[in-house]
């Protein structure tokens, strides 16, 4: 049979008129690398789950995207990461919410799916489970970028309520 793959890197935070040619090229290069990683898995007869994982691992490590390294800052200046994965064969699923020190939340979501009886784990409990599963942890500094930090500072300078913040600065 044939195979198909689609990927996304979010809805974008740079308005088209403000995106330089260099930025545009860099985003396209990152997306192509992620697409190629997943396509390689599928072209070689690999599983859809592994293709999805291959794509997201690259994007989580790429500071241009809001996941893993490059994730946005919370109001308090930290990072809270969420991820989920689902297998269409049997609708098995795994998800994690609000983890702060897991390099690849998508791997933790998959571990929740395959190595726990649960579907979603959150916060410290999820991080404890990650440690038990031997997943890689990183210090908070791993996730931070100047671009995202400045976005938080700009937002706070406007002295908006948190509701306004969530609504207008996603």
């Amino acid at each position: 049979g044939g195979w198909s793959l689609a990927i996304h890197g979010g809805a974008g935070t740079i308005a088209r008129e403000n995106m330089s040619a260099e930025d545009d090229a860099a985003y396209r290069t990152s997306l192509q690398a992620a697409l190629d990683a997943g396509a390689k898995v599928l072209a070689e007869g690999g599983e859809a789950l592994d293709a999805v994982e291959a794509v997201i691992l690259l994007l989580e490590d790429d500071p241009r995207f809001n996941a893993g390294r490059g994730a946005v800052f919370t109001w308090e200046g930290g990072h809270e990461l969420d991820a989920s994965i689902m297998d269409g064969r049997d609708r098995d699923a795994g998800a994690v919410a609000g983890v702060t020190n897991i390099r690849h939340p998508i791997l933790l979501a998959r571990k929740v799916m395959t190595d726990s009886p649960h579907v979603m784990l959150a916060g410290k409990g999820a991080e404890t489970f990650a440690k038990e599963q031997g997943l890689e942890t990183v210090p908070a500094e791993w996730f931070g970028t100047d671009f995202r930090r400045e976005a938080l500072e700009r937002m706070k300078a406007k002295e908006l309520s948190a509701l306004d913040v969530d609504a207008k600065f996603g």
Binding site: A6, A11, T74, D82, M155, V165
Partner: protein, 132 residues
């Protein structure tokens, strides 16, 4: 937010989504990404979906599951189902988009924002990335 959906040579579908949430979020806000049925869903009977956007609206609409259900129960195409559900999101005031791969191999996008970083590839030779 980042995500991927795939159909493999054995006809199996999968979906995944990962996100840092929203800038300046408080109160341990959780968006749609880890909520199965909102931001992520996969079912071999219909399709696989990963979403990005204003999570609360995707949760309220149950976006990912709704797309799969329209395809399975109403016979909608992936594009028609996705466009209808994203229109529902927009009608409520939300924005964002989805990527979908159907169990017949269609790889489509549907979004109501000006930009969505995206790409798709198939065994038929499609290979593209796009931003706007």
């Amino acid at each position: 937010t980042v995500g991927a959906v795939a159909l493999d040579r054995n006809g199996n579908l999968a979906a995944g989504t990962s996100t840092g949430g929203m800038t300046g979020k408080r109160w341990n806000r959780i968006g749609d990404a880890p909520v199965i049925g909102a931001g992520t869903y996969a079912d071999n009977r219909s399709c696989a979906v990963s979403a990005t956007g204003w999570g609360e609206y995707f949760i309220r609409v149950g976006v990912a599951k709704a797309i799969c259900a329209r395809m399975e129960l109403a016979g909608d195409s992936a594009q028609a189902a996705s466009d209808a559900v994203m229109a529902d999101v927009k009608a409520l005031g939300g924005d964002g988009g989805v990527i979908v791969v159907s169990n017949s191999g269609d790889a489509i996008y549907s979004f109501n924002t000006s930009g969505m970083y995206r790409g798709r590839a198939t065994s038929e030779g499609m290979n593209e990335v796009a931003i706007y």
